[in-house]
């Protein structure tokens, strides 16, 4: 199994009604990050999804590089007209990012996938399933 396969397989992007759910379960390295962004944006276009949830429950560490990839992906989705919500950030990850001085404004977040879906529902009531 090549590395590219390994990573492709490991960021599954599921469709839940009008929402896409991307679950990050591996360490985001450079190659994975770019692939992840491409996959997500292409699937938004293909499916016409109006919401994107990026689930990072599995990440026990988010450095400034990974944080930037996540925030950029959210912004790209938003430019396409899709609300993006980051869900499942662990307490110690949140604490670390804020202490580093990472600019957190403008990032939509929710506790978990359920909460994220509900938030999207409130943001885009017309589109919710």
């Amino acid at each position: 199994m090549t590395k590219r396969h390994e990573m492709r397989g490991s960021i599954p992007v599921l469709r839940i009604g009008s929402t896409l759910l991307a679950t990050i379960q591996v360490e985001l390295r450079d190659s994975v990050a770019e692939d992840f962004q491409r996959t997500v944006l292409t699937r938004i276009e293909d499916t016409g999804s109006t919401g994107l949830l990026i689930d990072i429950t599995a990440l026990d560490m988010v450095d400034s590089y990974v944080a930037r990839v996540l925030v950029e992906t959210s912004k790209m989705a938003r430019l396409m007209g899709t609300e993006a919500v980051l869900v499942g950030m662990r307490p110690e990850v949140a604490a670390t990012l804020v202490r580093m001085g990472f600019p957190v404004d403008g990032v939509r977040t929710a506790l978990d996938v359920d909460d994220g879906l509900a938030l999207l529902g409130r943001l885009r009531p017309a589109f919710d399933l």
Partner: protein, 142 residues
């Protein structure tokens, strides 16, 4: 590298940093050690994240280098001392990078300033053309 107090070095190892894989490897090793020392999840995340930033800097800005990882004891507490060394281009304006927000890459420039806020002791030495040495210490919280 003014870490004045007398410390006892319990263990010491070196790891090369020459690829992104090495960056991941190094930060996994640091996480394992932090957990073994009983760091709480917040301290563990802090030192692992700082490691990731500093190791990635070597890989991105110097190409190659190494880290020396030490488990140290001082006055009844234990911690990790990490020394990141490279012979890359060095950092011309140390003050500026330590304030944060300055980057020569397409990133946020939070690696050095952010790491510094995550650890208990931070020392950066760099000479343009001579390379860079960053030493950090993180003590376990009770």
């Amino acid at each position: 590298m003014a870490l004045s107090s007398p410390v006892h070095i319990r263990s010491s190892q070196e790891m090369a940093i020459e690829s992104e894989d090495d960056v991941l490897q190094v930060r996994r090793e640091v996480r394992v050690l932090a957990e073994r020392l009983g760091f709480n999840p917040f301290a563990t995340a802090a030192v692992t994240t700082a490691t990731s930033e500093l190791a990635r800097n070597i890989w991105c800005h110097a190409g190659r280098g190494m880290v020396q990882i030490e488990v140290i004891d001082e006055e009844g507490r234990s911690g990790l001392r990490l020394v990141f060394r490279d012979q890359g281009p060095g950092i011309p304006d140390i003050e500026r990078v330590l304030v944060g927000g300055y980057s020569t890459a397409r990133s946020l420039g939070l690696g050095l300033s952010g790491s510094r806020r995550l650890v208990d002791e931070f020392n950066l030495q760099s000479q343009p053309g001579q390379g860079t040495v960053v030493t950090v210490v993180k003590w376990g919280r009770l």
